[in-house]
Symmetry: C2
Subunit: 303 residues, 2 copies
Amino acid sequence: MESEFIAWLRRHLPPHPRLRLGIGDDAALVQLTGECVATTDLLTDEVDFILAECDPRHVGRKSLAVNLSDLAAMAARPVAAVVSLALPRAGALELAVQLYEGMLPLAEQCDIAIAGGDTNTWSGPLAISVAALGEPTGRGVLTRSGARPGDAILVTGAFGGSILGRHFDFQPRVAEAIGLHEKYELHAGTDVSDGLTLDLSHICEASGCGAEVELDAVPVHEDARRLAADRRDGISPLDHALTDGEDFELILAASPDQAEAMLADTSLPAPMTQIGRFTAPLGIFSIDAAGNRKPLSPKGYRH
Amino acid sequence: MESEFIAWLRRHLPPHPRLRLGIGDDAALVQLTGECVATTDLLTDEVDFILAECDPRHVGRKSLAVNLSDLAAMAARPVAAVVSLALPRAGALELAVQLYEGMLPLAEQCDIAIAGGDTNTWSGPLAISVAALGEPTGRGVLTRSGARPGDAILVTGAFGGSILGRHFDFQPRVAEAIGLHEKYELHAGTDVSDGLTLDLSHICEASGCGAEVELDAVPVHEDARRLAADRRDGISPLDHALTDGEDFELILAASPDQAEAMLADTSLPAPMTQIGRFTAPLGIFSIDAAGNRKPLSPKGYRH
């Protein structure tokens, strides 16, 4: 089916100013400015989606979106992506087309070229691997390792309950990350894929610091409340917000001054909230409304 | 298991001068010179290897080698690769380590940085996707589309029977491609993954020409003879050479003058053979020892 599918791709992949050579050769040729931010994410059936229960277009979109979120975490500008598919043999061509139909509108929106790929059939379930290339903006890349004690912990958006659908249709915070990195002095950043506290712990580990999270300040998504209400399993909306993951929002570190300026900035495209601060002592602690301080274990999705 | 495996990677991934930021962030930062040659290949259990019957180190090596062969096909210098793994849950950590143990020596030998990856477990069989980044040398990239009628068809090495083991331990023709592209004026090139005639047809299609293959000139690998002798299924060693695939040798197009100079060059690291010429009329034809001209259907592995 690969030759048929390549014919489909030739008709549907738009040109892109950075793409000097696209599909049809052994590799693609992409124009970059000298440094390349490279990331890859693999999504698999029954782990990242349940193919039998969803529209393959959502799966295709998500496979690109999670990579774009990784570029956003580095405040890098997306340039190009390559896509590897392992497709179940039955209905492979139709499935491949649907995956791309989900991917292409997001690619266009985020101005990333689909530069090439590898399309295979097999007896296993669906697996999709995307590798995305970006480039740093003038400020260089944002890493996990620059948070300093006293820095504010800032987040975009709200958290929890992404399983109700947001893990498919989230908007990767590419423009927000680039815009904030340009306008403010950010010390560190990451995106929330595994869970708010677990991803916060990644910044803490890389930066060699701890963190205090004010529980009252954590923006709890309406989906987290719905999920808690539906499931009635004792997991509170706040617990969902702290641990569910796949929110694909940003966690950022910035000095208190810069944080204050960002929080007062009404021109930002995404809502921003300060949920606590980085600390010199290691470990992550929660502070509740009464001022009680407790260890907050960095729970979330561990691969 | 991902955190344990990342700890293993931190101990075993060597530094690389092009790698500004490696594992431990949301994406890697790679130094390039302005243009990026990007490719990806996905290998799956029971299609590209049979995990139950082979050493996972061979699978790991192959997953990188096929990507290096794609860079060689473009005469691009390897710079960095990212690796996505979908691992069966039982024994996932051990398997991941073995895959990398196969990959790392080849990475070192071809001077490519393993820049990052994504490691997952699932209920499906093993799938490995590697995306490799390279950069063009001073001559730019070699493509499939520049062959001209009258050009010689040149190949490195010998063909057929790679299933006996060479599909695992082949040496990607990276140094050969870069060296030849620098020293001679090559018009087009590709690597033989799907099969000699099928990959030759890809150059013909991209270049808008045909080809004549002198059957007597095709270098038949000893493995092709062994395979034909073992199987006794009526498929001749020459048939194996023309159609088996996974030889990962180069097919090159060059003017008759340049071809003559290359064939007389005793300093080349790989044996080179002229197996025919590109023609203005479309279609691929074989010419046998008696001078008989017959259509040669571009058989090989179709995905």
